[in-house]
Every structure is written in C-alpha cells, then in structure tokens.
C-alpha cells in the first residue's frame, strides 16, 4: 500500500506536468485537448484521494546536498483534494470560454496544476522554490493567454515580476537555511541558528505575502484580472494566491519560533483584510471586486498563520477556494455570454440564467459570512485565535468581515436588480464592450457550478464541531481551535445586519480613494519600475559613451601614440641617423682633404729632407786622403773638447 501511495504521489505531480507539457507543445492537439485534460484532472482527483488517505512521502537526491522531497502531511491531505477537484471543475467549465488554442490552454493549466500539487506537498526549500516559480511562470502564460492583446500580456508580466520579486525571499531563505546548519527541509527550519532563522523567516514571509497578494504586493492581482475568468477561478481563488497563505500555514512553527514574525504576520494580514475589503467595495467591475476580495480573504488566512491556528486557516482556505472559484466561474459565464464584467452591465443578470444566478447568490452569501454558510464559521475560527493575541486586531478583523458582507451584498443587489424596460438600453450598452458575447450558457459551463455551490455552502463544517476536532488532529493541533458560541453569533449578526442594510438601501458607500487599489499600481510604477528603467538607460548610455569609449579611446590613443612615434621615428631618429651619416661623410671628406693636405705633405716633406740629408751625407766622401785626415782631426778635436767639457 505504501509503495503504491508513493507512486501515486509522484504521479500526482508528474502526470499533469508531462501531459500538460505535451499538450502545450503539440499545436495540432486542439481536438483531443479537452478530453485528455479532463481525464488527467479526474485521475488527479483519484490520486489525491489515495495520497490524502495514505500520507506517503517520497524523496530523491537533488542539488546542494538536499532532496527533492514530497510529503503529504495532514495539512496537505486537507488541501490536495480541494485543489484537484477545483482544477477538474474549472477545466470542465473552461470549455465554454476557451474555444481556440484549447491545447495550449489546457496544457498550461495542467502544468500549473502539477506545480500547485508540488507546492502543496514540497518538503524541502528547493522543491518548494521550483514548484513555486513554475507556478508563477504558468500563471504568466495563462494571464497573457490571449497574446494578441498587448495589455493582457503586460498584465501577466506585472503578475510574474511582482511575485518573482517576492520570490527572491525564497532564494535568500535557501541560502540562509544552508548557513543556518539545520538543512533545507521545511520541517527542520525552526532548528536553524537564531540569526539565520530570522533571515529565513523574513524571506519566506515576503515570498508568501507576494503570492497571496497581500499588502504591499496586492496590485498584481488587479492586473491579473485581464486573464480568462477560468484562469482566475483556479489561480486567483483556489490555487496560486491560496498557496501564499498555505505556505505560511505550512511554516507556522517557524513563524512561532522567531518570535517577531507572528505579530507582524497578523498585522499585515489584518491590514490587507481591512484595506482590500474597502478596495473591493469601491470597484465597479465584477472581477476587480472579486480580486480585491480574494486578497482580503487571504488576509484572514495570513492572520491565522500569524496567530498559530492552522486549523482555522486551512478551513478558511478550503471554504474560500470553493466560494471564490464559484464566483469567478459565474463572472466568466456572464462575460462569455454578455461580453462585459462591469457591474452596470450585469444588472439583473441573475434572472436571465437562473442556475448561474442562484449559484452565484450562494457564493455571495457565503462570502458575506452569512450563517450557516462556509466562510462564516471558518472566519470566526481564525478571529478567535486573533482575539487571544490582541483585541484590537480582532476588532479590525470584525470590521473587515462587515466590509466583506457589504461588498458581497453589492454583488447581490446588482445581479438581482429589477431593470425597468426604459433603462434596459443603458445596461445593454455595456454588452460586448470586452469581447463579443455569445448570449448563451452551455450545460458544461453550468454543471461545475453546482458542486462548487455545495462546497461554498458546506465547507464551513470543517471549522465546526464535530469535524473541527478531526481537522485539528490532522494538522497537528490537538485540542486547538474552539470558537466560542457568542463569537459565532456576533459575527453572524453583523453580517446579516450589514447585508440587510445594503439590500434595503440598494447601494453601498464606494470610497473613491480605494477605487484605484490604494494607488499601489501607480506607486509601484513610480517608485520601482520607472526608476529601474531610467537607471538601466543611464547605465546603457554610460556603457556606450564612457566604458566603450574609454576602450576605443585607449585604442585611439595607442594609435595616436604610435603615429607620433612614427613621426618621431621619421623626423628625429631617422634624421639624426641621416645627419649622422652626412656628418660622418663630411668628416671623412675633410679628413681626406686633411690627409692630402697635411699628412701626405708632411710625409713628402720628410722624404725630401731625408733625400737632402742623403745628398749632404754623400758630400764628404770625396776619395781624397787629405780631406779624410782633416775630417778625422776635426772629429778628434771635437771629441777632446767634448771630453774636457764633460769632465
């Protein structure tokens, strides 16, 4: 059984990844795409059931002395079936919306589903990081699915870059975990050395907040609404955004061990829940409203992680996934049929297609926190734990709950509004403003709404006795998460009162400051994007004008120097040599002349003198004896004189 479960766990990730990659790569697979992807998703549901029951763990060696490891613990066992079921339902519903390039769409969705399954079961940081980033890349491709619209592609770009900016935290955390000495397994992180543990915690917190669209990263979710509605139904309700909250639940022991991370997390979650609820209230576009609501609802999950109630957080995650997937699918059905998602264009739409209308109504009521639907109980499970930490944050949570009742009521008012015949043209003017509507809703689009509506209605049982005890045991919090009855009553009453007020008055306050998502997109553009681009351009100019010119300048200088040297060579060295030669020649000529004039003359003069002397010397030899005697006497006399003189 165990080996079988391990194989199932591998298959849960590898099967959709492989099938998805093939579908996305083979262009001519459009015709078989839907059956292939639907049956793959159905197999995934079965696999997730098996692994949720058997809780296997698998690992193979990977980089940096750590493993690629997947583990199904209690938390993953709770989340995985929800993920696979929502994936299957969304893929079925997508057949109505996606009618071209179906192979690419379903392939990418399956790759995404594989990445989500791996994220949910990842047991080490490298595994998590891999799955996490592939999830982001798949979301880029899915948001920008209709690539002919530049705007949708750049929406995907914003989503990917924002979440990747936050993901850098995970890279940092991996380095810190290696330095911290406790290894890269998620379960071992709390045992790291304290200094590094803070870095790990901060890194993971940032990455999770980015994916969960919490403040200050929330704005990417607004842009992401440019993607198909079915993509939003999976990515921006049950899977990707939810995985941000899920990761924090997963590393809750780490947050608790660091000391500071718990309160910070609760604070950020509460701020997001409060402010993004206001943003949702201000929106005039159904998908924008739902997106802001997603960020706000994930705020509750984040608070749960900070307040150390994994049970409440997990229950809220599951309940919200069903609710929000339902509402996004409904929005997608209307968008496909009518070509608009503006609230003014959707007036009275619930009456036109009753099944969709009633499903959406259940979803909206659950979102409002109306008892006994799902989010009522799960939200209170979270807030109970928050109340133990700080009454102020509890109050903030209650206000956020009231605001969610208000924006949910806003949806209800719009879709059930009776439009008088004379104002129908005003509504219909909005039709087809986004895309050409089909004016019909298929069975395949409607069928997935029913199980999701059941989920939205009933998932709250996870946070109520008797199921809550089983959930607590599963996630390793025996005895935790008991919500006092008075809190449940208070929150139900608040939700009901707010809902009734809105329905009776038929309007809600729409804070203008929240319409543009608190100015976050503008701030990101002004503070990060534009300065970065300016810096890049400046550096590029620097590179061309200074660095490169420095090099070419050096080369040119070398050339100039060599030219000078050449000139010097010609003008000075060569001329010196030539002058030297000429000088030598002149000297030689002069020497020649001197030779002729002086030396030769001297030699000849000497010769003449010698000749003369010779002639003189010949003269005494006359051959006459008396002359010889006379000469001898003279010599003797001279000799005597010399002797006397010297003596």
């Amino acid at each position: 059984m165990n080996e079988f479960a391990q194989v199932c766990l591998w298959l849960l990730v590898l099967l959709p990844a492989g099938v998805g990659a093939v579908l996305a790569a083979v262009a001519r697979a459009d015709r078989v795409a839907v059956p292939v992807s639907a049956s793959t998703a159905a197999v995934m549901v079965g696999l997730s059931a098996v692994v949720a029951a058997a809780r296997p763990a698998v690992a193979v060696p990977f980089v940096a002395g750590t493993d690629v490891a997947l583990t199904v613990d209690g938390l993953a066992a709770l989340i995985l079936p929800m993920l696979t079921v929502v994936t299957l339902l969304v893929l079925l519903a997508a057949t109505g919306e996606i009618r071209t390039s179906t192979a690419r769409f379903h392939g990418l969705m399956l790759v995404f589903a594989a990445a989500v399954a791996a994220t949910a079961t990842a047991a080490t940081l490298p595994t998590l990081l891999m799955a996490w980033e592939i999830m982001g890349a798949a979301s880029y491709a899915l948001i920008g699915f209709q690539w002919r619209d530049d705007d949708r592609v750049s929406a995907g770009l914003t989503a990917f870059l924002t979440t990747r900016a936050a993901d850098l935290g995970l890279y940092l955390a991996a380095g810190a975990a290696l330095a911290g000495g406790a290894g890269l397994a998620l379960a071992d992180l709390p045992a790291s050395s304290p200094g590094w543990r803070n870095v790990i915690t901060a890194g993971i917190l940032v990455a999770a907040l980015g994916k969960a669209a919490q403040l200050p990263f929330s704005f990417w979710l607004s842009r992401a609404m440019a993607g198909p509605s079915t993509v939003s139904a999976l990515l921006h309700s049950a899977a990707m955004v939810a995985m941000g909250g899920y990761l924090l639940l997963r590393v809750e022991p780490l947050l608790a061990a660091s000391g500071w991370a718990g309160p910070v997390t609760i604070g950020l979650g509460a701020a997001t829940a409060l402010l993004l609820s206001a943003v949702a209230l201000a929106q005039r576009d159904l998908k924008q409203l739902l997106a802001a609501s997603t960020a706000a609802q994930l705020g509750f999950v984040v608070m749960a992680a900070g307040a150390a109630t994994v049970t409440g957080g997990a229950a809220h995650l599951v309940a919200h996934a069903a609710t929000k997937a339902l509402l996004f699918l409904a929005a997608g059905v209307w968008l496909t049929a009518l070509g608009t998602k503006r609230l003014t264009g959707l007036r009275g739409v619930a009456k036109r297609w009753r099944l969709v209308g009633w499903s959406a109504t259940i979803g909206a009521l659950a979102l409002a926190g109306i008892a006994p639907l799902s989010l009522w109980a799960t939200k209170d499970a979270v807030l109970t734990a928050v109340a133990e930490q700080s009454p102020w944050l509890y109050a903030a949570g209650l206000v956020a709950s009231a605001l969610s009742a208000a924006y949910a009521a806003k949806i209800l008012v719009v879709i059930w509004l009776r439009v008088p015949a004379d104002r129908r043209a005003e509504v219909e003017a909005h039709f087809d403003e986004e895309e050409r509507g089909t004016r019909r809703v298929t069975v395949r689009q409607q069928a997935p709404l029913l199980p999701l509506a059941v989920g939205a209605a009933c998932a709250g049982l996870l946070a109520l006795p008797p199921l809550v005890a089983a959930v607590s045991r599963a996630v390793g919090e025996p005895g935790g998460a008991h919500t006092p009855a008075w809190e449940l009553v208070v929150s139900a009453a608040i939700a009901l009162v707010v809902l009734l007020i809105v329905v009776v008055r038929r309007r809600v306050p729409e804070p203008r400051w929240a319409l543009r998502w608190l100015g976050l997109p503008a701030a990101a553009s002004a503070l990060v994007v534009r300065p970065t681009l300016r810096c890049a351009n400046a550096l590029a100019r620097f590179d061309d004008r200074i660095v490169d010119r420095g090099v070419t300048g050096a080369a040119r200088a070398a050339l100039a120097v060599s030219r000078r040297a050449g000139g010097f060579d010609d003008r000075v060295v060569d001329r010196a040599v030539e002058r030297g030669a000429a000088g030598t020649l002149r000297v030689a000529q002069r020497a020649g002349r001197a030779d002729d004039r002086w030396l030769d003359a001297a030699v000849e003069h000497l010769a003449a003198t010698v000749r003369r002397l010779g002639r003189l010397a010949r003269r005494p030899q006359t051959g006459q004896l008396h002359q010889y005697y006379l000469q001898a006497v003279v010599v003797l006399v001279l000799g005597v004189v010399l002797l006397v003189a010297l003596g």
């Binding site: 980089v63 890349a137 990747r164 660095v547």
Partner: protein
C-alpha cells in the same frame, strides 16, 4: 583523437576545393556527430580521478627546453564543458545546413575552432592552453570578419585586439608562474601541487592580476566587456552561438583550472575584489541589457550577467572562513553548472536571433510585433529559451543559479544583492517576448516564415538538454561535485 578528428576533417575540407557545398555541409555535420559520439563514449567510461588527478591522461614531451609537454586529461571540471562543446558545434553544423555563403570554408573554419576548443578544455599544460586560447581568438576573428554582417571588419578587429591583448596578459602571468616554480615547468598538475609564489604575496598578487585580467577580458566581466556586444551583433548566428556558448567559457574555466589551484593564497587575498566584480557584472549586465532595443545586443549583455554569477561564485570560493567549505563547494558546483547551462541556452537563443535576421534582416525589437501569429513554432521555442535563460526551474539555469545563490549567501551574506539580477533578467526577457511575439502582427513580422527543420533540429536539442539536466541534474552533478570539492580544498591550502 577527439581533438584532432575535426581538425583533420577541416584541413581535408579546406584542401579539397572541388568538393561540393552540399557535401561540405553534410561532412561537417557527420564529423561533429562522430566527435560527439566519441565524447559520450568517453563520458560513459569516465571514473572520477583521485583529487588533483586527471582521467584519460596523455603526456608527450613537446618543448623539453622549458619543461612544456603535450599533456591532456579530463576531470569533473572539463568533462561537462567538453560535452557541451560537442553539442553546440553539432547544433551549429545542423543550423548551418541552410548556409549559402562559402559553406566549405565555413565548415573548415568551424572544424578548426572545434578542435581548438576541445583542446583548450583538455589541456593540462599552460603553453598548450595558451596556444589553444590564442588560436580560438584567431579562428573567431575570421568567422566574424568573413561571415559577419553590419560592420564585421571593425567588430572583428575590436574583438581580436581586445582579447589578444588579454591573452598577452595571460601569457605574462603564465611566465610568472613558470619562473617562480622550482623546477621551472608549465605543467598544470605540477604547478597546482607546487603552488609557486606561496610565500610571496606581492609577486603572487601581480601574477594573479595578470592572469585575472587575461581571463576577465575573455569571460568577459565588467569593465572589460565592451568588445562583446559589437562582436555578437555583427557575427553570424553560428559564430555568436560558439562565441557565447564555448569561447566565453574559456575565461571562466581558466579561473577554476588555473588561477584558483595554482595561486590559492593570492586568490584568497583578492577574493573580495573578485566577488565585487562578479556582483557588479551581474547587476550591471542585467540593467544594461534591460535598456537594449536590439535583441542580439540584449542577449549579449545577459551573457555578461550570467558570467557574473560564475565570477561571483568563484570569488566566494576564496572567502575561506570557518565551516563554510560545504557552502563554497556548492557555489563552485553551481558555477560549473552555469557554464554548461549558459552554453546550451544562450547558443540556442543566438541561433534563434539568426532566424530573425535571416527572414527579416533586423534585430530591432520595435520593428517586430505579433510574431506568434505567423511563426508559432518560433514563438514557442523562443519563449522556452527566454524562460530557460531567466532561470526558470526545470531548466539548467535554475539548478546553477540556485546553487550559486545558496552557496554564496551562506558563505558571504552581502552577496544576496546579486539575487536581484534574476528579477531584472526576468523583466528584460518578458519585455522582449512581449515586444517580439505578442500584440498585432506588424512591421517585419508580416509574412515571417516559421522555423525550418534545420533550425528546429539545431535549437530544439539544445533546449531539450537544458530541460533534461534541469529536471534530472544528478548525472551531471555527480561528475562536477567531486571536482569542485577538490578546487575548494586546493584554494583552502
């Protein structure tokens, strides 16, 4: 045999002028394929040598007067690069099947470069290394000058002079090592074992500086990188693929093969400088790439960024302190992995930009738009290449960068600033994807012919290999990890 098979074939091609162009092209493919098969055979028989040793060693006296020998061998650092070289040259040969410009001469020249590149990675003697190093520059000069476009003469000259000057600095360093070694030798394992200049920080620093400048020009790192963009922009796409994929690795390979083992003390003393150069290259390369409007120039600058990661990792390896040996070893493994990864991915991207020029004659992004409609295959492959290059998991780039970051941050926390590089590269590649592929089909994208079989079969395998070793990194890591542990030991002496 592996080294000289392409050379012999190249000489034969050059010597037989009457050979048809078609035959020349197919001969090139066949020779590179056979050579790759030989390399794979080598890999299968490879067993990790003892630390500091080489496998398949060969040594023949060459210039005995200066104790230089024809000494070859492989280890965990060179084997992956040799295999990558074989793959890239085969891909180029397949890609060039459509070349109509003097294919016989081109095939001969590339076969020559093929031999030279393999020889460099196998060389275990400094003179031999230097000879191959310089011959690669000469070969690439003719590739750019002979088959380039734009202003190839000037770019080729700039490339040649700049890198040749660098190689002279390298030679000075080599001679310094030779003179300092007792007995004088150019043999790499002997020098690594002897660590000449160990007790002389000034001389060691100067010799290291000479070697570093030589290798930094070739790598290239900031600020020695400005020859790279014009060389790439004006080179033919196969030339760019080889230049980026193989030739740049000669610089980074020199760090781990020569500078670190032979001058460990100087390396440790100057490690912070190298780390800073690496971090600056990462961020500067990425930001300047972000500002480019020319696809090929952009990819060229991302090479500066990617090489920066390697420089960062090898710099961190020199920061010997406490118990960080494991982390530093991981960083070096990541660096070697990055050499292979960058080779595969960037070669693929450059071949793809060649398609742009081939069809529409421009690399300017703003002249295209909506290419995904007329050329869906090109769009898909380019998107995969871009994501691989920005370090998406499941491709080799992630495995490399993850190890570099993890190891670097663990050993020197301030290097975390380099992680921003992957965000900027993500931004620039996604912008390029959007500009080229998305939106309405306009400008030069109208009537664009999709990838042809030769192009698919050259680019596809490169990216598939990146995917394969991105998903299953163990076979490659098992080869690299012992070698990088050895390097860390050597640097720690």
């Amino acid at each position: 045999m592996i080294i000289f098979l392409p050379l012999v074939a190249g000489l034969a091609l050059a010597a037989l002028p009457r050979l048809g162009d078609r035959t020349a092209r197919w001969t090139w493919v066949a020779v590179t394929a056979v050579d790759l098969a030989l390399i794979i055979g080598l890999w299968l028989r490879y067993e990790t040598p003892p630390p500091g040793g080489l496998a398949f060693e060969e040594q023949v006296p060459w210039i005995p007067g200066v104790n230089s020998s024809y000494h070859l061998g492989v280890d965990g650092l060179s084997l992956p690069l040799i295999a990558m070289t074989g793959v890239i040259f085969l891909a180029c040969a397949v890609y060039a099947l459509r070349n109509r410009r003097r294919p016989r001469a081109q095939a001969a020249l590339f076969l020559f470069l093929h031999s030279v590149s393999l020889g460099l990675f196998l060389a275990a003697d400094l003179i031999l290394f230097f000879v191959f190093f310089d011959l690669s520059i000469v070969g690439m000069y003719f590739v750019i000058a002979g088959w380039g476009h734009g202003n190839p003469g000037r770019s080729a000259m700039k490339f040649f002079l700049y890198t040749f000057l660098g190689s002279l600095a390298l030679l000075v360093g080599f001679i310094g090592l030779y003179v300092a070694a007792e007995p004088h030798t150019f043999d790499m394992p002997a020098l690594a074992a002897a660590t000449p200049l160990a007790g002389r920080p000034l001389a060691g620093g100067l010799v290291l500086a000479a070697i570093l400048v030589g290798l930094a020009v070739k790598t290239p790192t900031v600020p020695f990188h400005t020859w790279l963009p014009p060389a790439h922009t004006d080179a033919p796409s196969v030339g760019s693929a080889v230049l980026a994929g193989v030739l740049l690795k000669m610089g980074t390979y020199g760090f781990v093969r020569i500078a670190m083992p032979m001058l460990p003390q100087a390396w440790r003393a100057w490690a912070w400088v190298i780390v800073v150069v690496g971090v600056v290259s990462v961020l500067y390369g990425a930001l300047v790439a972000l500002a480019q409007t020319n696809v090929k120039r952009m990819i060229a600058y991302t090479s500066v960024n990617h090489m920066g990661y390697i420089v960062l990792a090898v710099g961190v390896a020199g920061l010997v302190a406490g118990d960080t040996a494991a982390a530093r070893s991981i960083a070096v493994t990541g660096a070697v992995y990055q050499m292979v990864s960058h080779g595969l991915i960037t070669a693929a991207l450059f071949l793809l930009t060649g398609v742009l020029r081939d069809r529409a004659g421009s690399y300017e992004m703003r002249e295209y738009g909506g290419l995904a409609a007329p050329a869906p295959r090109f769009a898909a492959v380019f998107a995969v290449g871009a994501f691989a290059s920005l370090g998406l998991p499941a491709f080799t780039g992630f495995i490399a960068e993850f190890q570099i970051f993890t190891g670097s941050v663990a050993a020197a926390p301030v290097t975390a600033v380099a992680i921003l590089g992957i965000l900027v590269t993500a931004a620039l590649f996604l912008r390029a994807l959007q500009g080229l592929l998305a939106g309405d089909t306009r400008g030069r994208a109208v009537g664009f012919t999709d990838l042809r079989p030769a192009e698919v079969w050259s680019v596809g395998p490169l990216l598939l290999l990146s995917l394969l070793f991105g998903v299953l990194p163990r076979p490659l890591l098992d080869v690299i990890e012992p070698a990088s542990a050895t390097v860390i030991d050597l640097v720690g002496r």
